[in-house]
Amino acid sequence: MKEAVMKSLANRAIKLALAAVLFTLASAIVQAQEPARLQLTMLDALEPRADQTLNITMDGKVLQLALRFLSDKKPNEAKIKEAVAGIRGIYVKRFGFGQDNLFTAADVEPIRSQLRSPLWSQLVEVRSKKEGQNIDVFTMIEGGKINGVAIIAMDRRQVTVVNIVGPVDVDKLTELRGNFGIPDFVVNGDKK
């Protein structure tokens, strides 16, 4: 009798484990289709501590829709269209905090661990002790072309992670600075 119960329990455990394996496999398949796509949901643990949260998820369809509303006649919008052409997804998570030291580097570790994959390589590392600003830019190069970009930017009161999936021209993206006319992300009245 005792053995029967044990066997039944073991059976259930095996089934649960199988389901978990299947789920992991499904996530892996999704990721295999878009290897440059990072799992940013792990950053959600920062949300309760943050004063401001910005979450942008744009897959291919939404991007195409947005591009239809950018005019070729306006120079700024034409530049944006050119820079974004071919990109298959843009994902941004940004957390603004009301005080210093409400987060640590460990909070961003799940993202960094994904970037340690051999597919990714670090392009630039900026460390500014004075402003407490750290910016890391990673690229995924496939066939001699950049096929994904990841940016981790942290200062004393802000954490930003950007993930761009698809062929990216980093220079063109950098040139876009100042072409938007949208107010910057504000934390406690301080403009970044």
């Binding site: 009798m1 053995e3 066997k7 942008i56 843009i90 876009l176 949208i182």
Partner: protein, 190 residues
């Protein structure tokens, strides 16, 4: 061990278990353990029933596909219902009046009209048809306009999101670029 006594009466007797045995012993089954064995074996066989692993995997895959399908159908229906309800709100017109059918000429004479009134009736009928067609066209145009508005709203929201995302990206890249350029300038002097 006390647990052993509870399980098969071996080991050190547990006074509490003994007390319970004395209390409940009168109610015990007269059948011996041997009599119960077939039922126990049947139960244990049932409990220990195992499925092939491939069957579990196939069932899990089927369940995931089914869930995705159901989710897709529900999502499509909700979008359709939403657009239909908006459409109804935009067009609160009364139901279409029934189209009157003209009586055949030379019929039984129940609804016969004088010859002079026939062209008038035909003209009125034509007019009704035209107005119905116009109304249908208007409804179709309004529906299209609504869908366009909806698409436009979604498109503008997507554009705003894209601009925000690009702004954040380019500002960070700009900082990096300036820092790198600054380092390059400082490099030879240091």
């Amino acid at each position: 061990m006390k647990d052993d006594y509870l399980w098969d009466k071996s080991g050190e007797p547990d006074p509490e278990i003994e007390q319970l045995e004395n209390l409940l012993g009168g109610l015990r089954s007269r059948r011996t353990a041997k009599d119960l064995m077939p039922a126990v074996e049947k139960l244990s066989r049932k409990g220990a029933r195992t499925f092939p692993k491939w069957l579990s995997v196939a069932a899990a895959v089927a369940f995931v596909l089914l869930a995705l399908g159901v989710f897709n159908v529900i999502q499509r229906q909700s979008v359709k219902q939403f657009s239909d309800s908006q459409f109804v709100m935009l067009n609160p017109t009364s139901p279409e009046p029934p189209v009157e059918v003209a009586a055949p000429a030379g019929g039984s004479g129940e609804t016969s009209q004088p010859e002079s009134e026939k062209p008038l009736a035909a003209a009125a009928q034509n007019e009704k048809r035209t107005s119905l067609e116009t109304r249908r066209r208007n409804i179709a145009r309004k529906r299209e306009a609504f869908l366009n508005r909806q698409e436009q709203t979604e498109g503008l929201m997507a554009k705003e999101q894209l601009l925000k995302a690009l702004q954040i990206t380019s500002s960070n890249l700009d900082i990096v670029q300036k820092q790198v350029q600054g380092d390059e300038k400082q490099g030879p002097s240091s």
